[in-house]
Structures are given as C-alpha cells and as structure tokens.
C-alpha cells in the first residue's frame, strides 16, 4: 500500500473501508491515532457482528495497533432495522 509512512487520517480510513468492503459506506472520525468507524455495508447482510467487525479489521491488517493505534467499530447492514446478532449462548 502507498501512504504507509504518513500518519493515518479519517479520510484515508473511510476510503479504504469503502474500497475494501463491497457496498460499504463509512463515517470515520479520529485524531490520527485513535479512530472510530461507523460502517454500513451490503456485505454485512447475514453476518454475525463478529464477522462484520472482522471484515473491517481485515482492511487494515497489521497496521492495527501500529500505524492505526486504535480503531473502534460499529457496523450495520443497510437494510436491517434491528442490528445483526450472533448466537453466542
């Protein structure tokens, strides 16, 4: 990837999420180290919340915890009114 030496920006994260995940729209805020991403994507449909978050983490791989110090994520499949839930119990 390009830009790995530059500080991360909310805009960069937003674009990479939207490019990396099919049908994604992202709103990203952050200070260059700590970021918060609210992501809606058609690719999330039918996935557990854990799987949805994994898709977002996968966009950044090893940069997480390093160049991107911390990333909070909220995900949502666009059509669903109720958030996806996983059966963990």
């Amino acid at each position: 990837m390009a830009a790995t030496d530059l500080p991360a920006t909310p805009d960069e994260l937003k674009q990479r999420i939207e490019t990396g995940i099919p049908g994604a729209t992202a709103a990203v805020t952050g200070d260059g180290h700590h970021f918060n991403a609210v992501v809606s994507a058609s690719a999330f449909q039918g996935l557990s919340r854990i799987a949805q978050h994994r898709l977002v983490y996968d966009v950044f791989g090893a940069e997480l915890g390093d160049r991107i110090h911390a990333l909070s994520i909220q995900t949502q499949a666009p059509a669903s009114t109720a958030p996806e839930t996983e059966n963990i119990a």
Binding site: R49, I50, H53, R54, Y57, L71, S72, I88, A89
Partner: protein
C-alpha cells in the same frame, strides 16, 4: 524452542478459556487496566455483576500473539463466555446497551424491562482475577 513455548502458551490460553465461564483477556488487571478499552470492558462486566476471570496479556507479547491466533481477532480486550469468543470492547458495549450481554451472562432478571437503564445490583465485587502467567 520458542515454538514449544508458543504452543504451551496457546494451550494455556485454550484451557483458561474452557475452564472459565467468563474470561477477559485485557491489558493490565481489573484493578489497574492499562488501556481505556480494557478499562471500559471491565467496568461493564463489573456493573453487570458477574464474576469473571481476567488475564493480563502485557507481560509477554506471545500471549497476545497466540490469543489472536485462537480467536482470529486482532485487538485487545477479548471476552469469552462459555468458551465462545464474544467480541472486543465495541461489541461488548453494544451488547451491554442492548441487553444481549446480560442475557449471555445469565443475569437478565434485572433488565427485563429494558428501559435502557441496565444497572443490576453491584453486589459481586470480588471478580477473583486469574493470571495465566503463573502457569507458563
């Protein structure tokens, strides 16, 4: 050699997960969290009032490395309930706010009304932290 240690660490993590109904892998300890996300997750678990085991991942970088291999999850903290990976701080927060966490922990009684005021009795104040380092 280091390969062996990694396998040992992974096995210790796996048995800690299977032996403890609720276990949190975090940075620092419940009394002294070393990261805001770990602190928040501890605060949520404590407010739900369910005892939980806690493992500090900071003493050895291999703990985190092996943990992420087990859970396929890149960030800390990580919560497991009944042997299942539940999520990190964001997911635990969402589940707490929706009442799912209380259900998963079997403490749903207090939140049946689900008025957004999920504040169960803060009785259990002895979470009995467990350290994995001692077993490595």
């Amino acid at each position: 050699m280091s390969e062996d240690v990694s396998i040992q660490i992974r096995e210790a993590i796996q048995s800690a997960i299977s032996e403890n109904p609720v276990i949190l892998f975090m940075k620092g300890t419940p009394d002294q969290p070393m990261c805001g996300f770990s602190a928040r997750t501890v605060a949520i678990l404590q407010s739900v009032g369910k005892p939980f085991a806690a493992v500090n991942i900071l003493p050895d970088p291999r703990i985190r490395q092996e943990l992420s291999g087990v859970s396929n999850w890149p960030t800390i903290p990580q919560l497991f309930i009944d042997g299942e990976f539940v999520g990190g701080c964001d997911i635990v927060t969402e589940m707490y706010e929706s009442g799912e966490l209380q259900t998963a922990l079997g403490v749903e009684d207090a939140t049946n009304g689900d008025s957004g005021q999920a504040a169960p009795e803060p009785a259990a104040q002895e979470p009995a932290p467990l350290t994995i380092e001692n077993r490595l």
